[in-house]
């Protein structure tokens, strides 16, 4: 019975995904911000938006979100928006909602429901004692610089020169 329901759910979600891959991705402006014509701070400004304005996200690029508003569309600096809160529900102890999985990346993902399983909190850390078996395992997994570099190159990662940045004064 459950597997039937599961299959139906999957079919429903697959259909929804195909029809509306970016359904209702609403964001709210955290501070007054310009809406830019392109994802650049020096691009022309389509509009000056006020805190609290809402729009629908239709794309992303680097630090930018492509947002559609009732009267205009353009690009917002992603740091200036917030997504709606996702209430903690009894069936979701922190690994993401069912919808999150569906809207998520097109990859195989292991979904683990952790209902009833509690994680580690402050008291657990305070009360913890050294686990030498686990430490031995951890030490066994260490990667050499060479292994790390080979894997990075294999993944197409090329090191870049980037200077550290200061906090805004």
């Amino acid at each position: 019975m459950r597997s039937l329901q599961f299959s139906l759910n999957c079919a429903l979600w697959a259909a929804l995904l195909a029809a509306a891959p970016a359904a209702a991705q609403q964001v709210t402006l955290e501070r007054d911000s310009p809406l830019y014509a392109e994802p650049r701070l020096d691009a022309s400004q389509v509009a000056q938006l006020k805190t609290g304005a809402t729009g629908e996200v239709i794309g992303k690029q680097g630090a930018w979100l492509n947002v559609k508003l009732p009267d205009a569309s353009g690009w917002l600096f992603s740091f200036n928006v917030r997504f709606p809160s996702q209430p903690a529900s009894a069936g979701d102890s922190g690994v993401g909602s069912a919808a999150g999985r569906v809207f998520g990346p097109r990859r195989n993902v292991s979904v683990t429901s952790t209902i009833g399983i509690r994680g580690i909190g402050e008291e657990d850390l305070k009360g913890a004692s050294f686990n030498s078996d686990q430490m031995k395992l951890l030490e066994g997994y260490a990667a050499t610089k060479q292994a790390a570099e080979e894997r990075a190159r294999g993944s197409g990662l090329a090191p870049a020169r980037v200077e550290y940045m200061d906090a805004k004064k």
């Binding site: 740091f79 909602s97 993902v109 429901s113 009360g127």
Partner: protein, 323 residues
């Protein structure tokens, strides 16, 4: 001469700290010799001592939650993490990375190169650039010795009790790093977290990743509400994710035009055959229930409801940041 003396004392103290760092090449006893009280020990930790303290903290954290039993995953995270750490000013620390088997959403840095990320947080990540941002943040704490500085402060605060404790080396060790892995539960000051965020962005960019992976993770976290128990400790020990986004945005704004676009490789998933996180305490009242499902792009837990009219931030964010 001084070093030899210290080693001699350390040997004598090994029994006193037995059980702590017994297998470490540098044992913690070395830090507490006759001429070095808690205060001087904390304020002048050299690198081997920093590593020994970090190993102790990491080992105790592993006592609270074991590693995910997926050797390939752990090896993968070590290669990714080491590559990012190689872009820092401390590339030759003995870096260790691990994924903890707990649904809690958090990541920890212990001095000397120990970085632990929870499975709860790992499972939220959509690509390797996001992982790079999280690891880069933790590496930033280690590079800047943030926790060592906290230890110094706490050692200074408790200096008055020092004399009474001098006879008990275990108490001294615990005074420096807290009972268990308490130092990780205390948290750092806000500026240290903001600084680690900025470093995380830069290290990820240097390593060739999309620099904004950490920003995406902060958006995911900002959409979680404060009553989410899996994030309780993270929210207690860090500034609100929204505040971190604001700070990062202000710091990054002058730089967005020159940061490289970088790559977003796929992230390795936890082996689906790996058992779900184990309860860290006696069996929960309702009983642990787990579902392991292979997603072909369309998986939801059985019994899940169709999309409601309301907004689901997790879904929205995954949709946006997933690709």
């Amino acid at each position: 001469m001084k070093v030899a003396f210290r080693h001699g004392i350390a040997a004598a103290l090994t029994a006193a700290v037995a059980g702590y760092a017994a297998a470490a090449s540098i044992d913690l006893g070395r830090i507490f010799d006759v001429g070095r009280d808690l205060r001087t020990a904390a304020t002048s930790l050299d690198e081997p001592e920093e590593i020994a303290v970090g190993r102790e903290v990491a080992g105790r954290t592993l006592g609270a939650a074991p590693l995910v039993a997926d050797a390939e995953l752990q090896a993968y995270v070590n290669r990714v993490g080491r590559w990012i750490a190689m872009q820092s000013e401390r590339p030759d620390l003995p870096w260790h990375f691990g994924v903890l088997d707990t649904p809690t959403v958090n990541a920890f840095a212990a001095p000397g190169g120990y970085v632990l990320i929870t499975r709860g947080l790992y499972d939220m990540l959509s690509n390797e650039a996001q992982l790079a941002g999280v690891l880069g943040h933790e590496i930033g704490h280690i590079v800047q010795r943030h926790h060592v500085k906290v230890m110094q402060q706490s050692a200074l605060v408790s200096a008055g009790a020092r004399a009474a404790q001098r006879g008990d080396r275990n108490v001294l060790v615990n005074n420096l790093i807290g009972t268990g892995a308490e130092v990780l539960a205390r948290g750092l000051d806000k500026d240290a977290e903001f600084e680690a965020d900025r470093i995380g962005i830069v290290l990820a960019a240097r390593a060739g990743y999309n620099p904004y992976g950490l920003v995406e993770v902060l958006h995911l976290l900002a959409a979680r509400t404060a009553d989410d128990t899996s994030l309780a400790l993270l929210f207690k020990t860090h500034p609100a994710p929204g505040e971190r986004l604001t700070q990062l945005g202000d710091a990054l704004a002058p730089r967005v035009a020159v940061l490289p676009a970088g790559k977003e490789p796929a992230i390795r998933q936890v082996d689906p055959r790996t058992p779900p996180p184990a309860a860290s305490k006696p069996a929960p009242v309702e009983g642990a229930r787990s579902l392991q499902q292979q997603e072909g792009g369309t998986t939801i837990p059985s019994g899940g409801s169709p999309p409601s009219k309301g907004l689901d931030a997790g879904g929205i964010l995954r949709g946006i940041f997933g690709r």
